[in-house]
């Protein structure tokens, strides 16, 4: 396990900072350009969700390794309003902000592993992993 790098999301510009950090770490781990773009896009979606719906939170990255594979773990955590109906927000096109509603279902497709844990009034945690091929 590598060390974790986190970036706080408080202002809009932090979304750009988060995707740059995500891309840099992905590049260091050895991901190619297409996967770097996938990871950076996923970071951007999760960071924006924190900024829009929870005001503040953080995104953390870590290089991970098992016996036979390497990858990147990306976790987005906030203590915002939480999500009460997870299956609803995972539907393509569902948005409460007149967005495209493509963020969460998109992140699930962009990454290899996706886990959303949320408790109403407690916050939201999205854990994702992309494996190096």
């Amino acid at each position: 396990m590598g060390t974790q790098s986190c970036i706080n999301i408080q202002k809009e510009w932090d979304i750009v900072g988060a995707r740059q950090l995500g891309r840099d770490i992905a590049k260091k781990i050895g991901f190619g350009t297409v996967d770097q773009a996938r990871i950076a896009t996923a970071v951007s979606e999760l960071a924006r969700n924190i900024y829009l719906y929870a005001d503040s939170g953080k995104v953390c990255f870590e290089a991970i390794e098992t016996i036979d594979k390497k990858g990147i773990s990306m976790i987005a955590i906030d203590s915002g309003p939480g999500i009460s109906d997870i299956s609803l927000v995972m539907q393509d096109g569902y948005s409460t902000s007149r967005g495209l509603g493509a963020g969460l279902p998109g992140v699930k497709r962009l990454m290899d592993e996706f886990d959303l844990i949320s408790e109403k009034e407690q916050g939201t945690e999205v854990k994702t992993i992309k494996w190096l091929r």
Binding site: R48, L100, A102, L110
Partner: protein, 118 residues
């Protein structure tokens, strides 16, 4: 930060060279519509060759700008979308249907020229 909009003959030309944050994207939308109105242009090329990521927010702004320009009577062609960006857009489930695209700026101008017959 502001994205520069150039005028070339009857067309407007935009080459996005910087990392776009949300505010810059929205500012660009306003600036472009304003410029279309003032210049009376009928064609716009937005070159995305240097853009490394397009997430759902930026995709929405781009899609909206195409629709709005169209309402004002200007045709927009998006050019130079990188392969990695095209792949992530598909993963996001964003298809930008009805949006004219071309391989590069030159092809974009040719496309406008053909469609507008100017």
């Amino acid at each position: 930060m502001r994205i520069p909009i150039l005028k070339l003959y009857n067309y407007l030309l935009i080459s996005i060279q910087t990392e776009i944050d949300d505010q810059t994207a929205i500012q660009f939308q306003e600036d472009l519509l304003d410029k279309i109105h003032k210049s009376g242009t009928s064609g716009v090329v937005i070159d995305l060759t240097s853009v490394e990521i397009i997430d759902s927010f930026i995709a929405k702004v781009l899609g909206d700008v195409v629709t709005m320009s169209d309402l004002m009577g200007a045709k927009v062609v998006l050019t130079g979308i990188q392969p990695a960006v095209a792949m992530t857009l598909v993963d996001l489930g964003i298809h930008l249907t009805g949006v004219a695209t071309a391989l590069d700026l030159e092809q974009g101008l040719i496309k406008l020229h053909q469609e507008l017959g100017e």
